[in-house]
Amino acid sequence: MIENEKTKEILKILALSFILAIPIGCPKGGKSVETGKHFNADFYYTQKITNFSCFIIEFIEILPSNEVQPILAGYFTAKIGETSDTKAKDVKVFNKSNGIWESKGDVEIKILPEKLSVSVILPYLPYLRKTYLEIKVLTPQADELCKERFEDLLIKREYKGLVAIGRTPIFDPEQMNQTIGILSPVAESDIFPGVLSSTRAYPMAVQLDQNIKTGFRKFLLCGGMDILTHRVLRTCDIVDEENLSIVTGPVMNFPRIFGAISLISDGRVAISGGLDSLMKPVPFLEVYDPYFDIFLRITKVLPRFKNYMFSTDQNVVVVGGVGEGGVWDRRVEIFPHAITQSKPAEIKRFLYTVENPGDFGACFAEDDLRAYIIGGIGSAPQITRIYKKGLDAGIVSAETVKIEGIQSFGNCKALKLGAKLLVAGSYGQIYFITWDKESVSVSKEDLPKEVGQLKKSKKGFSFIKLSEGKAVMFGGFDYITFQEGQTSAVVPSSEILILSQDGIKQIKRAVYTSEGGWAFLFADEYLIMVGGNKEGKAQVSFIGSVEFPEGITTVGIDIGEEVK
């Protein structure tokens, strides 16, 4: 009997260990699980965070009503850069049954040169499986005041003097116990002291893949120009969101700037055109295979730059761009995906001409079904859309619509955001265009002007789709006229415009002006701008809501369903 009891006990422990061990994985440093569940989050902090010392940490659950409910909280005071390790004080856990905060749980913080490594022991798992860790940074410097603010937050949900916020993406605590977050000022932009440093400008960028479990992505940034040496680059970087790092990527066969890049449906990446180090158009298309981590195939193509490339289910398609002698190329090059397979004999190319192929200054966008060629200097503003499915069937099916009431988009950049085509012209307007079956409707918004500015236009900016609901316009140059008849002053722009499909949603200022910078959105809230400035520092701008994570309401995360 005793033997049986012992056996049962061992099996119970075994079963429990098994249940615990799988999500925990292999604990680093050999520390054993004591009570509750361990979570670890590395918060990469920006430079200005070192000016503050009052930090409140919360483990927050998202309720079905989209409200947020902290389930663990604590605070600590520390001077970043001076303190090394610390523990959060007054760590409390929220008891849902009686609504009382109880002294339980544990939070340890390792203060490292670029990040705060936060370890949380949560006595119990939240019932719902959408959680995130948050750090609020408040102005008080003294411990007592910080404690007061912490209590205010716990009881009244007031956070006076909030200067910075750190958040992880929303995660399922049963599936993940390790994640990262960003901690940056709320109101102003800031820089990362070290992570994501790069002097690359004007890269050709594409998302390589996304970890289904964590949601973290990898991006491939190829070519462009080193802003310090002015060398056109043949190297690529891989930006890894999971640890906010840039690792050396593959080497292209040719240096390129202002070329086109496209992700092929099987995960490979095609790059075409661009200018080489002598500023001549590159007449080759090459394909990167992430499995081998190398550019494997090279195919001769029409030499052009400022071209666009998109992928269909079966083809890679190159449109537009400036060819030899500065002539806009009207031809559409179509390469079946087989070009990238091993036999050169199978390389095929089909050439077509579309009727309205744009002109110099034209911009491009695409969605799942179509690719768009927009504008072009010297012709009436128009949009041509090419159907992807038609191309796979061997037909170039395109239609064109003239945009009334606009003289010119100028030298534009475009992207598709939801149902709308966003076109940022070079004359100071952003156009929001809906083109459904029956009609085209256009609304526009002028770029914000400051007092004393008579006219403002922006050129050479970066215009990047950040998510299904957000885009950013930053960097480049503001051409400002202060008085009628006066020549425009050219000022490198520090403006960051956050756009939705309805208009300009936020205006922020960058720490450094940039040209040819690239950006991505971390956790749908932290805009990270990489490269394009000679300081080489990555810049961060919090564009979310301090109340709750943007991820609650944006496309892709649906409350009530499991985070996959």
């Binding site: 080497v251 190398i294 010297g378």
Partner: protein
């Protein structure tokens, strides 16, 4: 014993999953290919270009597959083997050590490896020779020619638009009109095409505030303006004068403050040829003008003579005007001569002799 077994198995399982990243050492022992150089994704100077693979066994030459491509093309080279510290180094020595991206495939027996690296030398930012077509002041510019402005630096293609690149037609009235153009950029050259421009017309091409590529560590903005005149094959043609001496040969007036000869509206006289080929006599004596002005876009004094007679000559784009100061009120005969070599700015001679007079009575 039976009771402990599941626990043991569990920990073995956990141990294995945790250590999986480090279990390659056993395999490494049997590897033939130990390492290669240059490293994957690294860069070397072309002059230092050496490619080799280190093997653990002495290779049979016939079994080695060593292929190198640069920028997609085969690289010819020689293969040699050297023994170094019990390793066997297989070299590929390219015939030409050129810049570029190299892809290397090495196979021996059942083992293969391939990698890429690149060779690049020191880099000096590109400086181009500035140039333009048309040049500033150019005449007889062909009507359908493409124009370009080339800067010393590469230009950011994103800033080229109708605000930074303009072709302006300057009307005889000096009114300016922007001409719709197609534009493009090729390297450091802004290329402008207007289709057909008008005959005998002045234009200005302006490329202003374009941004060098990159803007940082460069001059920043670049600007260039050039004024030119389109093809003009018509000789200067007189369309009128005042008083109307050119109709009557000799006009009679009771007071003469000034006189003028008008040419076609699109004419642009050559001011130096006017100085030499427009002659005025007053009562039989050649008039020396106290001041001569060129009045095109601006008023420019081009000649001054120290004389007491305050008669001034104004050469307009399409008009010659003589200002007699206080005027001539009586008993004077003014003779006006236009000689055949009077020309326009495009070099077209009037090729005729004109002689008129004005009597002040």
């Amino acid at each position: 014993m039976i009771r402990k077994c599941p626990l043991f198995l569990f920990f073995i399982l956990l141990f294995c999953s945790c250590k999986s990243e480090n279990q390659t050492s056993a395999n490494v022992v049997d590897q033939i290919i130990l390492s290669f150089y240059p490293q994957n994704k690294s860069s070397v100077f072309p002059s230092d270009l050496t490619i080799y693979v280190d093997l653990a066994v002495k290779p049979e030459v016939g079994k080695i597959v060593f292929s190198v491509w640069r920028d997609g093309g085969d690289v010819p080279g020689t293969i040699s083997i050297e023994e170094i510290d019990k390793k066997f180094r297989v070299y590929f020595t390219p015939i030409e050590r050129a810049e570029g991206t190299y892809m290397v495939y090495f196979g021996y027996g059942s083992e293969v490896t391939f990698w890429a690296f690149f060779a690049e030398g020191e880099f000096s930012p590109l400086i181009f020779r500035p140039d333009s077509m048309p040049t500033d002041g150019e005449k007889n510019f062909p009507l359908e020619n493409t124009m370009y402005v080339s800067f010393a630096y590469a230009v950011n293609p994103d800033v080229i638009d109708e605000e930074t690149v303009r072709l302006i037609m300057i009307k005889p009235s000096l009114e300016e009109e922007i001409v719709p153009v197609r534009m493009s950029l090729y390297s450091n050259s802004v290329v402008v095409s207007a289709g057909a421009i008008s005959l005998s017309t002045n234009y200005r091409i302006e490329v202003t505030n374009v941004v060098s590529l990159p803007y940082q560590n460069n001059p920043g903005t670049l600007s260039y303006k050039a004024r030119f005149r389109s093809f003009d094959f018509s000789p200067p043609y007189i369309v009128g004068c005042s008083p109307d001496f050119c109709v009557r040969q000799c006009a009679e007036v009771d007071f003469l403050r000034g006189l003028e000869i008008r040419f076609r509206e699109d004419e642009e006289l050559d001011e130096l040829s006017v100085l030499d080929n427009f002659i005025l006599e007053k009562n039989g004596r050649r008039v020396v003008f106290s001041e001569v002005y060129k009045v095109f876009d601006t008023v420019e004094l081009i000649k001054r003579n120290s004389i007491s007679d305050p008669i001034k000559l104004y050469i307009y784009r399409n008009k010659i005007f003589v200002d007699f100061g206080d005027g001539i009120s009586s008993d004077a005969i003014i003779k006006i001569y236009v000689l055949p070599r009077l020309s326009d700015s495009s070099g077209n001679l009037i090729n005729d002799f004109f002689s008129w007079c004005v009597k002040v009575i």
